[in-house]
């Protein structure tokens, strides 16, 4: 989706504002938001790609206005309803539906260290042949999927070189929509700054973008 989230290469967003001694969370509710999403994610009703996509669906003007954790909460609220963990009526009233059974949380405090330590690897140990190899010239496909994609606009149609093959990973474009993991190779692809931004770019600079097989074609 050519959304506002895909902002690589945009200009005039203002200066980068660095904060001295920045706290991890600026307010208690930011911390609660962060933790709520991780704890609710433990139900495994969605995956990281679906979760990212949900935030991309926030209307552009809102997306730019909202802070990071505001987007988290907005995304989480929608995911909870979409996946049926909470009904729209419950969200609106703030109360569980009368007579609804009480669940048992999958993530309890004692399990937190082990769950964080395990993480959720996106690599898949399946034999999938790579379509490209290190050193090969490639072109990022000029495609504009209307759903979730991790192929940034600024790289589409551009020529690059395979820097290395990271191995086989879940494909976000299908996984975000619960259409299967479609595991395939991910490569680090090097694009020169001049290929991406033209002749005014410094001659030796480059941008490395991680790209799945389905994003690439031979050049």
């Amino acid at each position: 989706m050519n959304g506002i989230h895909d902002m690589g290469g945009m200009q005039d967003m203002g200066p980068v504002r660095w904060e001295k001694n920045e706290p991890v969370f600026h307010t208690p509710w930011e911390g609660r938001s962060f933790a709520l999403r991780l704890a609710a994610g433990a139900w495994r009703k969605w995956n990281i790609d679906a979760s990212r996509h949900q935030m991309e669906l926030i209307a552009p003007a809102d997306y730019l206005r909202m802070s990071y954790y505001e987007r988290w909460i907005e995304g989480l609220t929608e995911l909870l309803v979409k996946t049926g963990l909470v009904t729209r009526e419950e969200m609106d009233s703030g109360k569980p539906a009368p007579g609804s059974p009480k669940a048992t949380p999958p993530l309890t405090a004692d399990k937190v260290p082990a769950v964080l330590r395990a993480g959720r690897p996106a690599s898949r140990d399946v034999a999938v042949a790579p379509r490209f190899k290190a050193g090969q010239r490639v072109r990022a496909r000029n495609i504009h999927p209307t759903g979730h994609t991790r192929l940034p606009r600024y790289a589409r149609g551009k020529f690059g070189t395979i820097h290395l093959d990271h191995g086989v990973y879940v494909f976000p474009d299908s996984n975000a929509h619960f259409l299967g993991e479609k595991p395939q190779h991910v490569y680090s692809v090097r694009f020169t700054a001049r290929e991406l931004w033209g002749e005014q770019a410094p001659p030796h600079d480059s941008v490395y973008v991680d790209m799945w097989d389905d994003y690439l074609e031979p050049a």
Binding site: M13, V16, F25, F34, A35, S100, R117, G119, D210
Partner: protein
């Protein structure tokens, strides 16, 4: 306490693109409280687990993890080789890994090479070694400009790179997470590994700063 307060604010989103009539909710604090209360009442989340998650990222996991990795790489050439060849496994030697550190790549700065990490599409960041990202890393100005004008962004951080230094920007578009191995500062030859680790900043490991000796020792 907040039971009965609506979680859903009438703001957004994909259902309704009539932006003019939307407003960011005035009080996210209230909304989050209501959501937590609802999810706890429904048995969907354990409030003690929330406390444990917050405590982990406020007090346990942070840039001090990455700093230890960097300091080790500076003093132990064999470790540095392992780190650059297989970041995930080498970082696991410290017990760091898991959530948002499942697949690590370490990129090395050199006198003529400077690396910079960004996530233009969201805010991917190596939590296991750096903790949660600062606001600037997640902000539109950084995400948008780091790829098209990295030198300009670095200048805003006070880092002016000579023309003959090659800038490599790493856009975290997949599940690989990037850590910059900064250059060891000149004059640090006599420092211990722990003393070196104390010099390594979050910013240096994202690539927006260099590691410097404290003024008094330089």
């Amino acid at each position: 306490m907040a039971t009965g307060v609506a979680v859903t604010a009438k703001l957004s989103s994909e259902h309704d693109h009539d932006h003019e009539h939307q407003a960011v909710p005035s009080d996210f604090a209230l909304r989050v409280k209501a959501l937590e209360s609802l999810l706890v009442e429904k048995g969907l989340v354990d409030p003690a687990a929330l406390d444990a998650l917050i405590d982990t990222y406020e007090h346990k996991v942070g840039p001090h993890n990455g700093a230890r990795v960097v300091a080790r790489a500076w003093v132990d050439p064999a470790y540095k080789r392992r780190l650059l060849a297989d970041g995930t496994n080498a970082i696991t030697e410290f017990g760091y890994g898991g959530q948002q550190g499942e697949h690590m790549v370490v990129v090395e700065n050199a006198p003529k090479v400077h690396n910079l990490v960004v996530c233009t599409l969201c805010s991917c960041y190596p939590w296991s070694v750096l903790g949660l990202p600062p606001v600037w890393y997640k902000s539109a100005p950084y995400r948008s400009r780091a790829v098209i004008d990295p030198r300009g962004v670095l200048r805003e951080f006070g880092l002016e790179l000579p023309k003959d230094v090659e800038v490599r920007v790493w856009d975290s578009t997949a599940e690989l997470r990037y850590l910059v191995l900064p250059e060891r500062p000149a004059g640090s030859e006599n420092l211990t590994e722990d003393e070196l680790a104390a010099l390594v900043t979050r910013d240096a490991m994202v690539g927006v700063a260099k590691v410097a000796l404290p003024r008094s020792e330089s």
